[in-house]
Symmetry: C2
Subunit: 191 residues, 2 copies
């Protein structure tokens, strides 16, 4: 029945994208793995791009779920930030599809893979932005523009993880969390 076929296709595509990346995944491949004719894929998805989008949406959903799992409204903002970042970072580092896409961007620069990791990043910022908004409401952190603050947090995070290791030893993620806290929570003004 059609619902099953759709699922087969999605599963096959997820497997293939994670294993070979966006570019090296062919529609023939997906059809074969999914055990359906190639034409069938096009009755559910207009094109390869849309199929990829479906997979990416699921990945982002899963990340949100995983982040939600770890955040606790009882705890203070920076604890939650640390936990979410830690969890999401682990998730991203371990998830085959995320790994493969990052690699594909680095090595071939496939535009679609680039869009994919950007989508992941935007989801993370959006989530942080939401948390910042809540924290400001609760008076846990100073009033500030949540969007700008989430942006700053992301950029700082990316600088500490991606940029730093271009010319230094990579920082362990506990160190990254500690630094984020040091610079953004307390600030540099002497006590």
């Amino acid at each position: 029945m059609s619902v099953d076929r759709r699922k087969w296709i999605i599963d096959a595509a997820a497997k293939s994208f994670a294993l070979f990346g966006y570019k090296a995944t062919t529609m023939d491949q997906v059809a074969k793995i999914g055990g359906v004719g190639k034409g069938t894929i096009y009755t559910f998805f207009a094109n390869k791009e849309e199929l990829f989008q479906e997979i990416m949406n699921r990945l982002v959903q899963e990340m949100k779920r995983v982040a939600e799992e770890v955040v606790n409204p009882e705890r203070n903002f920076f604890d939650n930030l640390h936990r979410v970042l830690d969890r999401v970072l682990d998730f991203r580092e371990e998830h085959e599809l995320a790994i493969k896409l990052a690699q594909e961007v680095r090595e071939i620069g496939t535009p679609m893979a680039q869009a994919g990791i950007q989508q992941i990043e935007r989801a993370i910022v959006g989530y942080i932005q939401h948390q910042v908004g809540l924290a400001v409401g609760k008076g846990e952190i100073k009033p500030c523009d949540p969007e700008m603050t989430a942006f700053v947090m992301l950029k700082l995070y990316m600088a500490l993880t991606a940029d730093w290791k271009k010319s230094h030893e990579p920082l362990p993620k506990e160190k990254v969390a500690e630094l984020l806290r040091f610079y953004l929570q307390g600030g540099l003004a002497p006590d």
Copy 2:
């Protein structure tokens, strides 16, 4: 005489690197512009890479000079920080060689050009690092790792100036200074 020839070569190379980038600058080109035989270049520089290094060293020297011009020990740390970053990043945005190298990295990813812009960045961080060290000594800011702090400052500044405007209205300079102060000086912890 040999000193003059060396200068001719350097000037020709600077012109060519700024105009065509690293890869598209040929040694024949430099020789022709410099009005010397190609072999002569190799009596002063072991290879293209070394010639490029000479040009880059001069660029970094000039940047240091420009930064020095604007820093004032009387003023407080964050004022000087803003002035230096502002001046240096303007300089970088206007200097043909820096522009060309950035473009070359974006468009072809020439490893040598990449090394070049990294060198510029390292010089800026080095300079800020020095200022941070002084500020820590004077008790103007909390004790912290000067290198890491300088790195964070540059990245944050670049995020607020260059990255932000990719998806938003550009921030006026005063706003950037204010935000840098807001996030790094005071921190997000409520008073």
